[in-house]
Amino acid sequence: MSKNALRTRVAPTMAIAAALALIGGGVATAEENSSLGSSGTPAATPLTFDGWSSCPVEDLDVATCATVVVRGGSMKIGGLTVPVPDGGLKIAGGVKYATQPDGSFVETFVPKPDGRNGVYSNPISVPGGAIGIDTPLNLTQITATVEAVGLPNIKVLDQELTMPVRLKLSNSLLGNNCYLGSTANPINLHLTTTGNPPSEPIGDYPGAVFPAVQHTDNLFAAPAASGCGVFGALNWAVNLRAGTPSASGKNSLTTSSDVYTVAARKVRPPAASAAQAAEPAAVAQMGAAG
């Protein structure tokens, strides 16, 4: 590489690093003033199993409730590796089954209607932040938050997880709309597992949990950044830092999760269950009347 080329690459990076450091310093100061700790990062409460409250049991066609709590892992996008902390991500909802003429069935995920598509995420700190190295007081810190941009799909039996997501990158300089991936061009995660881990009773709740299920996806592609900085002026810096766009095969996500499952009828309120039980009788009566 020529000196000129090197200078061309390094100079903007140093410039943006300096800018981020300055802005980051401002953030840190503000956060320190609001008693968020010397790191400038409020510790997010790890997401945990919620006792089936995230299952839309009011939908009487939901037959299984499922919750996946990610307990740890690692996400690599291009040149960026982000450790996934315990409780950093949770997918929860219900599953319907449509039985096919050949006896097989199609599974459809149904999230709680809270606008989250069944995906719950805590901001995850990006090691090295904006410039790739840790700075005192985490001045250039960036957090990444997983946001679902479409319905996930959970295959209960196979414990497979498919999620169209975008990663929201947060830092004062990056603004509130800085993303890797979008609704139109999401990061399509398809997490699969192998094997047949033993289950355990949950304890105070009905159902079973499969602890420490290992999921991987090595095939997803990561689109370029968008919306970073004013009018996307910092998209290039984020792409430089994250190595995006990053083609399939250059990215990976590995997670270790606790997978919870229960028949929905066991957690459905008695009134709804009674209505569901009465349904076939009502249908039979209608048939007889007809």
Binding site: A63, G103, V156, D158, N196, V209, F210, V262, R265, K266
Partner: protein, 206 residues
């Protein structure tokens, strides 16, 4: 040997002999009689039967039915222990799921409902032959192996056997999917009520 020691030994022997007599008389009276004495067609149904594995996974069926015939005299009386088997010719389990995942169950072999009054109270057990049930939920396949689920109380008035997380149902799993019971052998406990038809209604007495 002192007289006190001899007395002590003698009283121990007398006590043991008395205990044996009581125990023997208890055993001697253990018997079972099914009424009516004539061979009688019976059906047993359940509106909800569940099997929960030690791993917490539940196989649940909304409808269970089976039919058989009670043994005619003198087969309706067992003067010893072990009760009386009522062979069930056709067992059907429908509306089944494995934690909500649709499951189909096919049964085979000779199932039996064993009733006994050995303890003085009527009891019932479901005896499942080896390979008596084949469960398929997607790629998860479970085969029930030889099992006796029970004994659980039988009510002569309601003609109902009621299990509450009791018994041991043995099975093998192919571990064919991640949410399948772990591959290999496993056990499950049964919960539910199995009700015999009330007409004529069989009674089980010592």
């Amino acid at each position: 040997m002192s007289s006190r020691t001899m007395l002590g030994k003698a009283s121990t022997l007398v006590g043991a002999a008395a205990a044996l007599t009581i125990a023997a008389s208890g055993i001697a009276t253990a018997s079972t009689t099914i009424s009516p004495a004539a061979a009688t067609p019976v059906t047993a149904t359940s509106s909800g039967l569940s099997f929960v594995t030690t791993g917490g996974l539940e196989l649940y069926c909304t409808s269970v039915s089976g039919s058989g015939t009670t043994p005619a005299a003198p087969g309706n009386v067992n003067s010893g222990t072990g009760g009386i088997n009522i062979n069930i010719a056709s067992v059907g389990l429908s509306g089944c799921d494995l934690e909500g995942v649709p499951a189909t169950i096919t049964t085979s072999g000779s199932w039996a409902l064993n009733v006994n009054a050995d303890s003085g109270s009527p009891m019932g057990s479901i005896k499942i032959p080896n390979g008596g049930a084949h469960v398929v939920a997607g790629s998860c396949v479970i085969d029930v192996t030889a099992s006796t689920a029970g004994p659980v109380p039988y009510n002569n008035t309601t003609h109902t056997v009621t299990a509450n997380n009791t018994g041991t149902v043995n099975f093998t799993s192919n571990g064919g999917s991640a949410s399948c019971p772990a591959a290999g052998a496993g056990t499950a406990k049964m919960t539910g009520a199995l009700k015999f038809n009330s007409t004529p209604g069989i009674t089980v007495t010592p």
